[in-house]
Amino acid sequence: MSGALLRATGLRLAFGGVKAADGIDLDVMAGEFLAIIGPNGAGKTTFINMTTGYLKPNAGSIAYDGRTITGMSPRAIVKLGIARSFQLPQLFLEHTVEQNIALAVASRHGIWSPLVPLLRPSYRDEARDLLDRFGLSAIADARADALNEGARKLADIAMAVALKPRLLLMDEPTSGVAASEKMTIVETLVNVLRDAKVTAVFVEHDMDVVERFADRVAVWSQGRIAALGPPAEVLSDPAVQREVIGIERHATPPGVRHA
């Protein structure tokens, strides 16, 4: 691990009176898996939205690979190698899963070829390979709007991975996934990401997942980072346990969709 891949400094953003980011300073190290935990409304998704260009901070800056990306468009940021997945899966609902992935593959190469099929052998193979690794081969030909929540979630992440990012931000990758499958899926995901040497930031509610897979964990509370460090250390902090994890475990039983 060598230095910060992403550096957020003094990020502030308020919606009306609500401070979604109230002075966020965070370094994401190259190659690490950073988990973000915290109660709903703490500003976790806002951080991802700001990093990917969907929201513009009122103050502060974000640097990626030594370069300031604050205020850049999502499109430009993706081109630099930052991809994301979504809390509510953002799939092309009238396309098949395979087409969804292939579109992501295609967008890496530039999509401006009007006469060669999307599902040309090279894109198809890459998409199939990815689906295989995510264990989605069986539903490759299903339309995205026919999938269950867990499959949508995975397909959504697979699309982000297909962009071959250096930094991947995932918003609650395991919400909606059945508890019985959760560990297997995360394991698969982590293997894929480690193989591709992707740095990952993920918002997570399941502390078991955090404990097992995160290199570091950041605790969000009211637009601030309340704690930051290795999972074992942070999760055993009684204040964190009381204010974050306790509430979390009662407020959102696993499998419930966050709207």
Binding site: R75, W112, P114
Partner: protein
Amino acid sequence: MKRYEPILGVLLAAGLVAAAIAAPWLRFVLTIALAKGIAVMGILLLLRAGQVSFGHALYIGFGAYTVAFLAPRVNDGAVLLLAAAAGAGVLGLMVGLFVTRYRQIFFGMLNLAMCMVFYSLLEKLYHITKGSDGIRVEIMPIAGQALDRVTYEWTVFGIALGLAFVLAFLLRLYLASPMGEALAGIKTRETRLEFMGVPARGVLLAAYVISAVVGGIGGALIAMTSRHVTPLLSYWTASGELVFIAILGGAGGVLGPFLGAAAYELVRVYAAASFADAWQMILGAVLLLVILFAPGGLWGMAARAIGGRGR
């Protein structure tokens, strides 16, 4: 279903040719139907992106008037077709740069506004356009060949059919390409496109320009067939008619526009002949029945008959 599309296309074309040989007056109606079918492919393209243009009669009118204006100077049908296509493309680019910033009703109504402004110009610039009287288009040589009337009509019919084939083929490729699939992505998840590094507006603009080009071609063919152009070609109801044909034919495949256009023109002719003062009611009722009882339009019906899915 997609597999059958070429075969069905050939069958449909053979049917059109047979009808045109058998009844000379139908040849005229069917040429118009082909021309409108070509234009409706552009509507289909935009529908892929979930956008409804209520103003594409603008490009029909533009293509038609391009032919009418240039015919006395450039007396060759082939050149005029190219000119109409290119002109409509440029116009489409200019209008598209503006309207592709908008979605849904705003997109629809801005297109309508452009169309109505063009219509008003055709009416207002009386000394150039002859207003509602319109401009007559004489029989013209095509690709350097001077033609008598019947040969000319057959040639235009043939060109319309040939263009329909070529354009439908290209459109089919386009729709299956990354550009075409990204276009369909605008309908369901436009934001995701941006997060994949794909400029959604550019994708839509490209489709918009293509839709303008085919609109221009359709309009030029209409002018070469009816040989008289009037501002009515660009009235808002004419735009509605294009959307009407698209839905009647079904938005599932590239044959839909042609099925729709042929059905539309034939129903209109037969309704007008049988009930001269209630043809609108009959057309409206046909459309209503198709929407309520045959979702997917005529193409969907054909697809179900063969046993596949519409798309």
